[in-house]
C-alpha cells in the first residue's frame, strides 16, 4: 500500500512539474501561432523576465510595481526582436530563422548577465515549497504547495489563452496574422498592434513561468537549459496547439519523474536529463505532427 501511494506521489509530482514545462512551452506556441517562427530564445526570455523582475525589486521597487515594469521590459525585447531579427529575415527559410533565434537566445542571455550579474537570486512568492499538511496526513504523500499553485496558475493561463484565441476578435486576428501576413494586412488587421499584443502576452507568460521556476529553484542561469525541456513538450503536443501543450507537458513531466525514480537508481540517476528527448524522438517517428498539431502536407 505504501508503494502505491508513493507511486501516486511521484506521478503527481511529475504532473505538477509538467505543468511548469507547459507554461514555458506556452510562450513558444504563442509566438509560433502568431508568426510561424519558432523562437528558440524563449527560454532566455523566461530567464531575462524573471531576472529583471527580481532585479527591479532589488533596486527598490515593490512587488506589484516591479511586475508591470518587467512585463514592459519584455514587450520591448519582443518588439526589438520583431523589428531587428524577424522582419529582416521574413522571407528566409525556417532553418535560417531558427538559427537566428538561437543567436538571439545567446544575445539575451548575455545581456541578462551583463545587466543583472550572475549571482543566483532567491525569489520569495509567499508560497512555500513545502508539503500540504492535510494531504500528507491522510495519504502519506508529499505534494508541494508551490507545485499545486503553479499547476493552478498554468491551468488558468492556458484556459484563458485558449479562449482568447478561439472566441475573441483579437484572437481571430492573431490567427489570421499567423496564417498570412499580407492577407491579414489587406483586410485591415493592425499588424503592429497584434505584434505588440502577442509579445506582451508571451512576455507575461514568460514572466509567470520564470517566477514559478525561480521560486522553486532560485533564479539562475540553469533556467535557460530547463527551457530546452519545453522542446519535447512542443513536439509531443504539436507546435500550434494550446491544449496540446498542457497534455504534453503533463506527459513529459510524469514520464520524466517516474523514469527517474524507478529506473534512475539502477544507473545512478540523471535519466530525466535525456528521457524527455528520447520520448520526443519516439513520438516524431510515429506521429510527427504531435498529438494535437496540424498535419504538414508538402506539395510537389
Amino acid at each position: 500500500m505504501v508503494d502505491f501511494w508513493f507511486f501516486i506521489e511521484v506521478l503527481v509530482g511529475g504532473l505538477l512539474s509538467g505543468t511548469m514545462y507547459s507554461l514555458v512551452a506556452l510562450g513558444f506556441v504563442l509566438i509560433y501561432k502568431a508568426s510561424s517562427v519558432f523562437n528558440f530564445a524563449q527560454g532566455a526570455m523566461v530567464f531575462f523576465a524573471v531576472l529583471s523582475f527580481v532585479g527591479f525589486m532589488e533596486l527598490g521597487l515593490p512587488f506589484w510595481a516591479a511586475l508591470p515594469v518587467a512585463v514592459g521590459v519584455m514587450v520591448l525585447v519582443g518588439m526589438a526582436t520583431e523589428r531587428f531579427v524577424l522582419r529582416p529575415l521574413v522571407s528566409q527559410s525556417e532553418d535560417t530563422l531558427l538559427m537566428a533565434t538561437i543567436g538571439l537566445a545567446f544575445v539575451i542571455e548575455g545581456v541578462a548577465q551583463l545587466a543583472w550579474g550572475v549571482d543566483v537570486r532567491r525569489l520569495d512568492l509567499g508560497i512555500r515549497d513545502e508539503p500540504i499538511n492535510w494531504v500528507m496526513d491522510t495519504t502519506g504523500m508529499l505534494i508541494s504547495q508551490l507545485d499545486i499553485t503553479a499547476a493552478v496558475v498554468a491551468g488558468v493561463m492556458v484556459v484563458a489563452l485558449a479562449l482568447l484565441f478561439s472566441y475573441t476578435k483579437v484572437g481571430r486576428g492573431l490567427r489570421a496574422v499567423a496564417d498570412d501576413h499580407a492577407a491579414a494586412l489587406s483586410i485591415g488587421i493592425p499588424l503592429k498592434h497584434i505584434w505588440m499584443l502577442v509579445w506582451a502576452t508571451a512576455g507575461i507568460v514568460a514572466l509567470v513561468a520564470g517566477m514559478l521556476w525561480g521560486a522553486r529553484s532560485g533564479v539562475q542561469f540553469a533556467l535557460v537549459w530547463v527551457a530546452l525541456k519545453a522542446l519535447p513538450v512542443l513536439i509531443i503536443g504539436g507546435f500550434t496547439s494550446v491544449p496540446g501543450v498542457i497534455i504534453a507537458g503533463l506527459i513529459v513531466g510524469a514520464v520524466e519523474k517516474v523514469a527517474e525514480v524507478y529506473i534512475g537508481p539502477f544507473f545512478g540517476g540523471g535519466i530525466e536529463g535525456w528521457a524527455p528527448y528520447m520520448l520526443a524522438v519516439f513520438f516524431l517517428l510515429i506521429r510527427p505532427e504531435g498529438l494535437f498539431g496540424e498535419k504538414i502536407i508538402r506539395r510537389v
Binding site: 529575415l89 545567446f106 544575445v107 548575455g110 544507473f267 535525456w274
Partner: protein, 354 residues
C-alpha cells in the same frame, strides 16, 4: 593585377575540377602549408598549446558539423556528443590494445563515432529541421550521460575523469607541444583534403541535392537513406577524430561534461559564422570563436588598463556571438567564407573595380 586568371588555360575536365584551379591559389596554399609546418620554430609553447592546437582540432569538428549541416542540410545539435565518443573510444582503445599506434586508435575512434552517428541519425529519415535538431539533442544528452554513468568507460577512475595517454607512434613519444602540433596538423590537413574531395565530387553533390530538394533527389535515383546516413556517419567520424585529438593533444584530463551541450552550441556558431557549406568556413569560424575571448581581454586591458571579470567577458562574448550570427544571417548568410570569396573576386579585378 597579380591575382588573375589571364593566361591560365584548363584543357581538360580533370584540370577544371581541381581544388585550386588558379595558379596563384596553388602557390598560396603551398606557402601556407610550409608556414604551418615551420610555425613551431617561431611560436612559443603557449601559442601552440592554447591556441593553434585547439584551433586545428575544433576546425576539424566544425568541418564535421559543416558536412552534416552545411552540405547535407541536416540540423544537428549533437556534435559535442560525437566528440565525446571519439575521445573516450580512443582512450579505451589505447588502454586495452597493447601497442596500438596512435593514428590507428584515432581512426578507429572515428569509426566508433561514425557508428553511433548512424544510429542517432536514423530519425533523419522521417523528420527534418527543428524536429531533427531536437532528436540530435537527445543524442547529445544521452551520450554524455552514458559516458558518465557507466564507469567502465573511464576505467573506473575514482575522480570520474580520464587522463589521456602519451601519443606514441613508431616508437616515438610525441610529448612536446611542438610534436603534438605536428601530429594534429598532419591529421587535420589530410582529413581536410579528403573532405574537400568529397564535397566537390559526387558525394557532395548528393548531399547538397538532399539538402536543397529531397523529392527531386529521389526522383533522380538518389537513395535518401544512404545519403543521409552517410552524411551522419562521415560527419560523426570527423567529430570523433576531433574529439580524440581534443582529449589527447589539448585537454589531457577529460571528463564527459567537457563535451556538454554548450560545446555543441559553440561548434554550431563556428559553422554559421564561418560559412555553412564551405570547408574554409569551418577554419574561419573556429578561429573567430577561439580568438574572440583573447581579443576581448586584450581590448579591455588596453582600454581600461586592468583585467575584467571573467563573467563579464564571457557574457559579452555571448552577446557578440549572438549579434554576429543575426547580422550575418541577415546580410551574408554564407558567413566569413563568402566574405573571403568576395575579397578574392575583388582581388582578381584589382586595381580595376569591374
Amino acid at each position: 593585377m597579380f591575382y588573375r586568371e589571364a593566361g591560365q588555360f584548363r584543357t581538360s575536365y580533370a584540370q577544371d575540377s581541381q581544388i585550386f584551379p588558379l595558379r596563384q591559389d596553388r602557390i598560396g596554399m603551398v606557402i601556407l602549408l610550409i608556414a604551418a609546418v615551420m610555425l613551431p620554430f617561431v611560436a612559443n609553447a603557449y601559442w601552440l598549446s592554447a591556441i593553434l592546437i585547439p584551433w586545428l582540432v575544433l576546425s576539424l569538428v566544425a568541418l564535421g558539423q559543416n558536412i552534416l549541416m552545411g552540405y547535407a542540410g541536416q540540423l544537428s545539435l549533437g556534435s559535442a556528443g560525437f566528440m565525446a565518443v571519439g575521445a573516450f573510444a580512443c582512450y579505451n582503445l589505447i588502454l586495452r590494445i597493447e601497442g596500438i599506434p596512435f593514428v590507428v586508435a584515432v581512426a578507429l575512434s572515428g569509426v566508433c563515432a561514425a557508428l553511433v552517428g548512424i544510429v542517432f541519425g536514423l530519425p533523419s529519415l522521417r523528420i527534418r529541421g527543428l524536429y531533427l535538431a531536437v532528436a540530435t539533442l537527445a543524442s547529445q544528452f544521452f551520450i554524455v550521460w552514458a559516458l558518465d554513468k557507466f564507469p567502465w568507460f573511464k576505467n573506473y577512475d575514482p575522480a570520474g575523469v580520464i587522463t589521456a595517454q602519451p601519443i606514441i607512434m613508431f616508437g616515438h613519444n610525441f610529448a612536446s607541444p611542438r610534436e603534438k602540433y605536428w601530429v594534429v596538423l598532419a591529421i587535420v590537413v589530410v582529413l581536410t583534403l579528403l573532405a574537400k574531395n568529397m564535397a566537390r565530387g559526387s558525394v557532395g553533390r548528393g548531399w547538397m541535392a538532399v539538402r536543397d530538394m529531397d523529392v527531386a533527389a529521389e526522383v533522380m535515383g538518389l537513395s535518401l537513406l544512404r545519403t543521409k546516413l552517410q552524411a551522419f556517419a562521415i560527419s560523426s567520424f570527423y567529430c570523433g577524430v576531433g574529439g580524440a585529438l581534443f582529449a589527447f593533444a589539448y585537454l589531457q584530463t577529460v571528463e564527459p561534461s567537457a563535451f556538454a551541450i554548450d560545446l555543441s552550441f559553440r561548434i554550431l556558431f563556428m559553422v554559421i559564422i564561418g560559412g555553412l557549406g564551405t570547408i574554409m568556413g569551418s577554419f574561419l569560424g573556429a578561429g573567430f570563436i577561439l580568438l574572440m575571448p583573447i581579443f576581448l581581454n586584450i581590448f579591455f586591458h588596453s582600454v581600461f588598463g586592468k583585467s575584467v571579470d571573467a563573467t563579464i567577458t564571457s557574457a559579452l562574448e555571448q552577446v557578440i556571438f549572438g549579434v554576429i550570427i543575426i547580422v550575418f544571417l541577415i546580410f551574408e548568410p554564407l558567413g566569413f567564407a563568402r566574405l573571403w570569396q568576395l575579397t578574392k573576386e575583388r582581388l582578381r579585378l584589382w586595381p580595376f573595380s569591374h
